[in-house]
Each structure stands twice: as structure tokens, then as C-alpha cells.
């Protein structure tokens, strides 16, 4: 069913009793052309683009929990493409372009909101670095504006501009950056993939990967053995464990990153703002809660919760930037498990095992990359070679 104003009217007249489920709940077949492990943002996007761009529809996505139960629902929903290095910028800008057309593309309201991402700078040296970064972005065709202190003040008069230690000197603004309703990204990709014939199998945990003569045969799961010609792993947070099933050791450590939401407030911060003297980034959700986050907890962890010292640290950074936050109460906090790669770079690639592909190592930047990651991973799997956007 396509969502549009007519289907909305028709269903409202019939009391909303006739909406169909957005995706099926199939039992696994015995064999697929492609199996994707991980029903999060990247895995579902991969399945969607495999079906849409490459015509591969005999595809299954295996998810050990429920759809979108991992980091796609545990982030701070920020999208941006304000990178500097040549290898990064074209990839993240492609992701931004996919975000810009995502809702029309998969016919689902993901609430893509290009409300602007503003990075604050607090020293002259940092402003010079931002000028350089902005220029690098513009060379790659990305929008960037260097704002002086007064221009920032006009946007956000309530920041602490004269903080004794971290005065605000200006900022780098990417107006096309913003936020997206993160769950809807998973749901939209799932619905789009499912309607093209992809089987999304929830509560199906992969227990082992069968390999024979250097070639993938399939996966052992709690729903039995599933044969496949190609296998894609998109299990960020648990990549080391899934890769170990194929005998691979990865350059990855798992760390916990916490995020927070405050009580609902009246409209207060209409964009995304990041503190430049520490790790703090904040936006306001449509329900009014301030959504914010900071740094990883900095020790290896598979627990989806962090410790209190980091909560205090994040909130201190926030209050240094916006003193009026001091009286706002935190409603809830949660943690997600990050694939921290040793050099900070993600991996979308073939492996030495024929038919086995890996998508991993997103550090704390996986959400914004979701569309391009899926798009590039689908290309890598379908063509058995990386696209130039994800080639090393």
C-alpha cells in the first residue's frame, strides 16, 4: 500500500481499521541469493538498495532481536556531511543527498529536517581550523558557512558567549544538516525492502557461519540452517563476534556511547548545535525534549548502559555552553554499543572469503551514514567489488 493523502482519507473514513502491516513476518526459506545479518539501519538499507538498485530480491535480513532494536534507535538522530578529508566527504555527502530524497524514494515519513548543524569554535586557532574545514567542504560541493560571534548570537542569544574558559568565537554552519526520525528510517527501509520481496526475519539469531573451500555456504541460526550465495554482515556493536564466526579478527573494540533526552520544553533550540571545547551536541525533538549526547565511556563494553561519571561530564559541557540548561531535568538516558575501529575509519568491503562481505567499524558516526552505507554495501555485494565511494 502506498501512503498518500487519499489512502489516509480512505482509512480515516473506515476508522483506521484497514491499514495493512508495513512488512510481512515470513519464515526463512532454505536458500537465498543474499543474506544480510543485522536488521538495523545499515542492514535494512542494504537490502532495500539491493532490491531497488540491483534487482536482487531473493534476499533475507536476519535480526536477532526486533527490527531496529540496535543503534538505529539509540543515536541522537543527527545527519551532516561536514567532513574534511577527501575519502570522507564524497561518501557522507552522497549520504546527505540520499537523505534529502529518502522520503519520496521509500514513501515513508522519516521526518527529515534540515534544520542546520552548527559547530561552535572557542579559540582563534579553532576558528582557523573551521575555516579550513569549511573550504574543504565547499571544494567537495558541500554547503558550509563560517559565522562570526554576532551571527551565532543572532541565532542563539542564550549561549554563554563570555564563558571565562570557553568563550564562543563563532561557528561553522551546515544548513543542510539536521535531524531525522531514527526509528522511521528503519521502518521505511524495512517496508521498502519487504514490498520488493525481501524477507525480513526477526528474532533469528545467527549462531555460526559455514564456509567451505574459502566460500560461504550459509548461516546456522536458531531457525535452522539458511543457505546463501552471498552473506553480508552489518552488525555494528557486535561485529567482532559475528566476524569471529568466520574466523576473522577485526581492528575493532566495542565501546558504550550514552545519549540523553530531557523533559519536554517549549521550542528552544531550532537546530543542531555542538560545543567545540568538549563533546556535547544537542537538538530539540518535535515532542520538545532536548536530545543530547557526548563522548564514549572510554572502556570496552557490550553493556547498553554507561556509568554516571560520563553523565556528569556531558551535562557539565552542556551547561558550560548553555547555562539555562542547568535547571532542565534529564528524563532518560540510554547507551548504544559502538564499533570503535582502531583508525576511526569504517569498513565496507569484501573479505578474503568468497561471498562474505563486511560492513563495520562506524565508531559513533553510523546514523548519518545509513543511506550511503546501505547503498555502497549493496553495490559491493551485487558487483563483488567496492564502489569508488567506499573503496579503500
Amino acid at each position: 500500500m502506498r501512503y498518500n493523502v487519499f489512502s489516509l482519507l480512505r482509512n480515516s473514513l473506515s476508522g483506521h481499521k484497514n491499514w495493512q502491516p508495513a512488512w510481512r513476518e515470513p519464515e526463512p526459506k532454505t536458500e537465498y541469493d543474499v543474506v544480510i545479518v543485522g536488521g538495523g539501519g545499515h542492514g535494512l538499507a542494504t537490502a532495500y538498495y539491493l532490491a531497488k538498485e540491483h534487482g536482487l530480491t531473493n534476499v533475507a535480513v536476519l535480526e536477532k532481536g526486533w527490527l531496529g532494536s540496535g543503534n538505529i534507535g539509540r543515536n541522537t538522530t543527527i545527519i551532516r556531511s561536514n567532513y574534511m578529508l577527501p575519502g570522507n566527504n564524497p561518501f557522507y555527502e552522497w549520504s546527505m543527498k540520499l537523505w534529502e530524497n529518502l522520503e519520496q524514494d521509500f514513501n515513508f515519513n522519516a521526518m527529515v529536517s534540515q534544520r542546520g548543524v552548527l559547530n561552535l569554535c572557542h579559540t582563534d586557532a579553532q576558528r582557523d581550523a573551521f575555516a579550513r574545514r569549511g573550504n574543504a567542504m565547499r571544494i567537495d560541493g558541500v554547503d558550509a558557512e563560517l559565522l562570526d560571534r554576532e551571527a551565532v548570537r543572532e541565532m542563539y542569544p542564550f549561549f554563554d558567549y563570555d564563558n571565562a574558559r570557553f568563550p564562543i568565537k563563532g561557528g561553522l554552519l551546515q544548513r543542510r544538516g539536521g535531524t531525522v526520525r531514527h526509528d522511521a528510517v528503519a521502518w521505511g527501509y524495512a517496508r521498502g525492502a519487504d514490498s520488493r520481496g525481501v524477507d525480513i526475519i526477526q528474532h533469528c539469531e545467527v549462531k555460526g557461519i559455514r564456509i567451505e573451500n574459502g566460500k560461504v555456504l550459509g548461516v546456522d541460526t536458531n531457525k535452522g540452517f539458511i543457505r546463501c550465495k552471498k552473506l553480508g554482515l552489518a552488525t555494528a556493536g557486535n561485529s567482532s563476534e559475528t566476524a569471529a564466526m568466520a574466523g576473522m579478527k577485526l581492528p575493532i573494540e566495542s565501546h558504550v556511547l550514552q545519549a540523553f533526552v530531557s523533559e519536554g520544553l517549549k521550542p528552544y533550540i531550532d537546530g543542531v548545535v555542538t560545543f567545540g571545547a568538549g563533546h556535547f551536541y544537542v537538538s530539540q525533538s518535535d515532542k520538545g525534549g532536548l536530545v543530547f549526547g557526548g563522548d564514549i565511556d572510554s572502556y570496552n563494553s557490550y553493556a547498553r548502559r554507561g556509568n554516571l561519571p560520563m553523565v556528569e561530564h556531558v551535562v557539565e559541557a552542556g551547561v558550560a555552553m548553555i547555562p539555562s540548561l542547568a535547571r532542565v531535568r534529564v528524563l532518560r538516558s540510554w547507551g548504544g554499543i559502538m564499533d570503535m575501529s582502531m583508525d576511526g575509519s569504517p569498513i565496507i568491503d569484501k573479505t578474503h572469503i568468497q561471498g562474505l562481505y563486511l560492513n563495520a567499524g562506524w565508531c559513533y558516526g553510523g546514523f548519518k551514514a545509513t543511506p550511503a552505507s546501505g547503498w555502497c554495501f549493496a553495490h559491493t555485494i551485487a558487483k563483488d567489488e567496492p564502489h569508488k565511494l567506499n573503496a579503500a
Partner: protein
Amino acid sequence: MLIPCPHCGTRPVEEFTFLGDASVTRPTSNDPASMEQWYDYVYLRANPRGRFAEFAHHSGGCRAWLVVTRNTETHEVYGAVTARDYARAKGAKA
């Protein structure tokens, strides 16, 4: 998390700086032939779920290097020894 520092007693986690996996061995040679070992040392990690021994610097305390044994899934701390004792015990086993 509370870490039982052998010198300072039980101290809160924010006093410590973590370096990561204590099981990796730094190669002793700079010979280009040892690049594989360096690659293993710098990049590859077992990244276990569960029991994990890691280097921790008591940067907000006695400034000693420790090896903390901890559960990465539950954050339960099993114990901490000085890095020197850990290395000696490891050497004795090898």
C-alpha cells in the same frame, strides 16, 4: 564502576584512564619483517564479550599502570593488579 587499586584501595572509575586490551604483546623489533606483528599489536583485537583484562592508568590517583579484570557485558570488576605483576605472571606462564 569501582576499581580496587592495589595502592589506593577502592576508587571510582573516573580516576582511571583506560588503554584497552592487556593481552596484546608489543613487538620488540623494528625490523620490517616484523610488520605483521606490529599490525596485530596496533590494530587487531579479540574484543571479547565477558571477562576482559585491560590496562588502566590511575591518572587521578597514584599514577600507577594497572591491569583491571572486568566483565564487558555486566561491568562487574573482578580485580586489579599492577601492570608489572601482570607482566611477570604472564612471563612466568610463557
